[in-house]
């Protein structure tokens, strides 16, 4: 419950900023996806289930605000949050470059997944455009993740008691 209360404002603000401020903005020939990066960083810090739930809620907000087909963004961001969370739960958490690395990889996968989903829905999509902007978008996501991960790291810092033991006593 506390985790949800921490995640909700972050995701809400990121979704609002994404739609109103960053939507249509071009940086390095790509569009910054703050919401995706936020979901990835939240999932890395909080785990796969909170990550997936945050992705679902964030995607739903985007679909509602842009009056798009409900669920299309949710499905992509749910999987993005889950994958990032699993990476954090297994090998990623604590690693210095986990956030930018995960944001880079998931940005590419989410972009391709989004194109595939819209294609399956019969909407006109140009895969070439998505492929051309995939790498700049991923680089931008990685750069954004450096900043966002600091915020999420501060919010979701684990209690000291749960830190991984660095040495054990042999009896």
């Amino acid at each position: 419950m506390i985790t949800a209360l921490r995640i909700a404002p972050l995701v809400f603000v990121a979704a609002i900023v994404q739609v109103t401020v960053l939507g249509g903005a071009r940086v390095l020939w790509a569009e910054p996806d703050l919401l995706l990066v936020t979901i990835v960083c939240v999932a890395l810090a909080a785990g796969s289930i909170p990550g997936a739930a945050a992705g679902f809620a964030g995607g739903l907000l985007i679909d509602v605000m842009t009056l798009g087909t409900l669920g299309t963004t949710s499905i992509v961001l749910t999987l993005a949050g889950y994958w990032a969370g699993r990476y954090g739960e297994t090998t990623g958490r604590g690693r210095r470059y986990a956030a930018p690395l995960a944001a880079f990889a998931i940005s590419i996968l989410a972009g391709l997944g989004g194109v595939a989903l819209h294609f399956l829905l019969g909407e006109p999509v140009a895969a070439r455009d998505a492929l051309v902007t995939a790498v700049p978008s991923a680089i931008l996501a990685a750069v954004l993740a450096l900043g966002v991960s600091r915020i999420t790291g501060a919010i979701f810092e684990p209690p000291r008691g749960l830190e991984r033991p660095r040495q054990v006593e042999l009896v």
Partner: protein
């Protein structure tokens, strides 16, 4: 196991939402809920937009300073005004000959009455590379309907593709699904304006016969047409863009014409929705 159940459930829920939302096509219970939620979120969007506006202005000012665009912007504006006048005069001259013949049409029920422009702020911009659409702060209660043309002072922007009570979704001209019948003002070459091949040429004039003449910098406007039962979505004479390049090969059936839109679709702040005067009068 619990993890997989949760993520599986969320994915399933997303798929259910996609299915229902896709089938409803903007008019059903889920769409009503979505419209209601959008209305609730609208103040947050407006607030965020207002907070971001000074920063956006600062960014725009800096970039314009760096690009030395201040003088160019003024001259470009003046140039655009003159081009508009030239385009209007050329159209007027050409149409003068056929005006008497069209006079009977003008008074007939098929001839479109005038339009009035409803100004609306842009409250959200394209949320992805494959979503060439914006959301504007005007909806059904303001008299907006699906397929209403949307313009700015620079030229054609697109058309309304979905309407809720106070907001509307506008599909931009650069969307793959958009198309508008158009003509070259200088040569009268007809074609269909569609989305182009990338950022350098956002639009293309399609279906231009090889024998038709087209030149660089020619002005492209909406052709507008009507038949007894149907009429063009876009009124005649709305400026669309300028011819930036064209080419034809022996094997192509049509001339390939690249068009740069007059309206800057990437930084729209406000737009005009063209509403037929009679509908506006009914709404009042």
């Amino acid at each position: 196991m619990r993890r997989r159940l949760v993520v599986g459930g969320l994915v399933l829920l997303s798929l259910v939402l996609v299915t229902i939302s896709f089938r409803e096509d903007g008019s059903g219970p889920l769409a009503s809920v979505q419209n209601g939620a959008a209305a609730v979120l609208r103040p947050f969007q407006v607030a965020a937009d207002r907070v971001a506006e000074p920063f956006r202005d600062a960014y725009g000012w800096t970039s314009s300073l760096l690009d030395a665009r201040s003088d160019a912007a003024r001259l470009e504006k003046e140039n655009e005004l003159l081009r508009q006048q030239v385009a209007e005069r050329q159209l007027a001259l050409r149409e003068n000959v056929t005006l008497r013949k069209l006079l009977a049409y003008r008074n007939g029920p098929r001839f479109p009455d005038g339009y009035s422009g409803l100004a609306a702020a842009v409250i959200s911009r394209p949320a992805g590379a494959y979503a060439q659409a914006i959301v504007i702060a005007a909806g059904r209660k303001d008299g907006v309907r699906t397929d209403d043309p949307v313009v700015t002072q620079d030229g054609l922007v697109g058309k309304v593709s979905r309407v809720s009570s106070r907001t509307s979704r506008v599909t931009l001209l650069t969307d793959d699904a958009s198309a508008a019948s158009a003509l070259d003002v200088e040569t009268q070459a007809f074609g269909i304006v569609r989305s182009g091949d990338g950022a350098r040429a956002p639009l293309r004039l399609d279906r231009v016969p090889k024998e038709a003449r087209v030149a660089i910098d020619d002005t492209i406007v909406t052709s507008g047409w009507s038949s007894p039962r149907l009429s063009s979505l876009y009124p005649r004479g709305i400026r669309i863009g300028r011819v930036t390049s064209f080419g034809r090969t022996d094997t192509d059936l049509y001339t390939q014409v690249q068009v740069t839109p007059f309206a800057d679709l990437s930084s729209l702040e406000a737009v005009l929705v063209l509403i037929p005067v009679d509908r506006m009068a009914r709404a009042r």
